[in-house]
């Protein structure tokens, strides 16, 4: 079972859901694909066993060979290359590493350069295996790193993917290939708007989808009506709770705090198992 936890916007409690679900389930791998702000480890405090760097390859010019013919720039469908009368420029964030420019260059003037985009950390917290993608500050393209993190996914058993918020390319990269997606939202007009966008993306990707409504007693009925109209199951409603907020601010998973919260997340686990369990690998 590979389940993505996503949300249309940040700050809805997505990480809280991912972390506590992982702890309740146990024997699970958590892939933190929210690589621009990977905070699952702040709650799980995993023992880190390995840290490895992740690189992408970008072209580099050998100036003594280049004749500035611009063949490479014309070829590049991603507009990563610019050739001026006496300069060759690459915008590394735009390069998709298709390899084409090296082939079309008539002077064999292009070689490769490795560019570090971030780190992957492997750690263990109890029976939760935590794999964290950590994008380098200032790096504009999270998707290659997310793909790398997802390569680490176990082929069997439970895998929880903490996806980046929003409906970006990065979010799609994270949830693609999962068996089901849980969207965490709030019952406010903003929450509804972002849920509409996110559920549309999940639908296009063909994943079954359920909703967790956080701070469910604050706000209006828009989100519930939307879920009913679209046939999206509401898997769990979490009313606002001071204890939850305090635990969060201290970096303590709330399932550690009380039996009450263990039963809440057990309920979510059961709802996921019964809704999507037949998708089990």
């Amino acid at each position: 079972m590979r389940i993505a936890i996503a949300s249309g916007k940040g700050g809805t409690g997505k990480t809280t859901v991912a972390v506590n679900l992982a702890l309740m389930r146990g024997n699970v791998q958590l892939l933190d694909c929210d690589v621009e702000d990977p905070d699952a480890a702040l709650f799980l405090h995993p023992q880190i066993s390995t840290i490895s760097s992740v690189y992408v390859t970008v072209p580099r010019v050998l100036l003594h060979r280049c004749i500035f013919c611009a063949e490479c720039a014309h070829f590049c469908a991603y507009n990563a290359l610019v050739v001026l009368p006496d300069q060759w420029l690459v915008t590394p964030e735009l390069c998709k590493d298709c390899g084409g420019c090296y082939l079309v260059c008539p002077e064999d003037a292009l070689t490769t350069e490795r560019r570090k985009i971030g780190l992957i950390q492997f750690g263990v917290s109890g029976s939760v295996n935590v794999v964290t993608g950590d994008l380098q500050a200032g790096e504009a393209m999270p998707s290659p790193l997310i793909r790398r993190v997802k390569q680490e996914a176990n082929k069997e058993g439970w895998v929880i993917v903490d996806a980046p918020p929003g409906t970006s390319c990065a979010m799609i990269t994270a949830i693609e290939g999962c068996d089901a997606c849980v969207l965490v939202t709030e019952p406010t007009p903003f929450g509804l708007h972002d849920l509409q966008l996110a559920s549309e993306v999940v639908k296009i990707l063909g994943l079954p989808c359920g909703v967790v409504i956080n701070r469910s007693d604050l706000g209006d009925s828009g989100v519930r009506e939307f879920c009913r109209d679209k046939g999206l199951p509401v898997l769990l409603e979490i009313p606002f709770d001071r204890g939850l907020a305090v635990a969060y601010s201290r970096g303590v998973p709330v399932t550690y705090v009380s039996e009450h919260w263990r039963s809440v997340f057990q309920e979510l686990l059961d709802a996921i198992e019964s809704r999507f369990g037949d998708k089990k690998r």
């Binding site: 991603y78 990563a80 290359l81 610019v82 050739v83 001026l84 420029l89 964030e93 735009l94």
Partner: protein, 122 residues
């Protein structure tokens, strides 16, 4: 001197397009005569990504030494800087007006991009 202006249409009385990379038209104007000498519809306006780098390359290849626009992202700005093009951003109003203001020295050159990458796509 040639001036590249991001514009909403193919004439001097149209508005300056606030986006550089994804401007509808890029007009190359001769600063002496005030006439449009080249440029036209921006075929990179609908590019998936990297519109800015390609629009910047186009401006440089047309011989522009100055760019007038609303906002410019970092990728485009890097290319323009490499091409030693002076960039005046935050420009609005008609193209004709913008050029007049440049000639009177009323516009200020920028030394950095004005918006994050991919802003023109929103």
């Amino acid at each position: 001197m040639k001036i590249a202006v991001s514009a909403s249409d193919n004439n001097l009385d149209t508005m300056v397009d606030p986006r550089f990379g994804r401007c509808a038209y890029l007009l190359i104007v001769d600063s002496q005569t005030g006439e449009i000498v080249s440029g036209g519809r921006n075929e990179f306006a609908a590019a998936g990504g990297g519109a800015g780098t390609q629009t910047a390359q186009w401006a440089i290849r047309e011989g522009a030494e100055v760019v007038l626009t609303g906002n410019v992202g970092p990728n485009a700005y890097n290319v323009l800087r490499a091409g030693k093009v002076k960039v005046y951003a935050g420009v609005s109003g008609s193209v004709r007006d913008a050029i007049a203001r440049l000639n009177k020295g009323e516009l200020s050159e920028i030394s950095n991009s004005t918006v994050p990458p991919h802003s023109g796509m929103r």
